[in-house]
Amino acid sequence: MIEKEDLTEDLTGSEAELETQQVNSLDDTKALEPGKVEFTLAGVLEGFRATIPVAIGVFTYGLVFGVLARQAGLSLIEALLMSSLVFAGASQFTALGLWVAPLPILTIIITTLVVNLRHVLMGAALRPWFSQLNLWQKYISLHFLSDESWALTMNQFAKGKRNGAFMLGSGLALGLGWVGATGVGGTLGSVLQDPARWGLDFAFVAIFIALLVGLWKGKQDILPWVVAALVAIGAAQLLPGKWYILLGGLAGSLVGAWRNAD
């Protein structure tokens, strides 16, 4: 295992030396060199295992979704259907907020699109590796693209690992947690009326903070991250919905590209 990693690093290192221009400006040259990407069952299992702690966090959140979905008037099977087919927590909670009779179908669909627009950027970031996968591998894996599975997968690629099946495994673990919890929450109903009482509303923040620690590359991250935080905080005050995620992420990353590209 360790030997294999060393080999990958050596290979990436020598490739990087050939293109000297690419070496000096960034520490993450390794992450930007796609290398040869494979797609194996071992990759699925690795992604699944690595995601179990996160899936536990997702489970607590999914319980809340299940409870709220029933309160909003969805049947258990409808809530389960939404969690499996949409599989995007933030937008599903937003939809519940809009769920009144008669159902504003178009408004809910458009809002879902906006809340999930950030996926476009995430998909773009996966391209160097995912473009090497075949049609089925790509388009099935992409259903499992979520904030968590994507961050874990990018983290994996940044470490020099090259298994394209990691995200599928990661997404399956999250899906199991999310859909399972929707079912449990939807069945138990009123047990978790107030998740804040148990500090569970912080579980997601904590998961994302832990992911950030893994993504930290050094001092060059400070300015982009600060800009992203400030723009997100400002946009959350001024704009409805989840636009702040898109705006903050864009602003911070563009500052990073502008500062460190030359």
Binding site: L26, R197, F202
Partner: protein
Amino acid sequence: MQIRAEVLLTIMGMAIVTYATRVSGLWLISRVTLSRRVETWLSYLPGTIIIAIIAPGVLSSGIAGAIAALVTVLVARRTGSMLFAMLAGVGIVLVWRTLGLP
């Protein structure tokens, strides 16, 4: 156990637009040769998007949130375990609220 037509329509619509956002990132950039600057930009996206997701929430969660966030960072750095980091952060928030602190 029931599925109503208008609910099914809404859920299918949500599923289709969401799947579209998931796959269109690949198409969007695959028509453009990545320049050095675009690659650098993409390399910053994971961190900045995650920061943007949590920043407003951490800010609005007050002192408890700030302390819990800090403890989560420390535990994540020290143990490298996402589960321990999460339990530590949630634990701080739970204790804080149980004690009725501001």
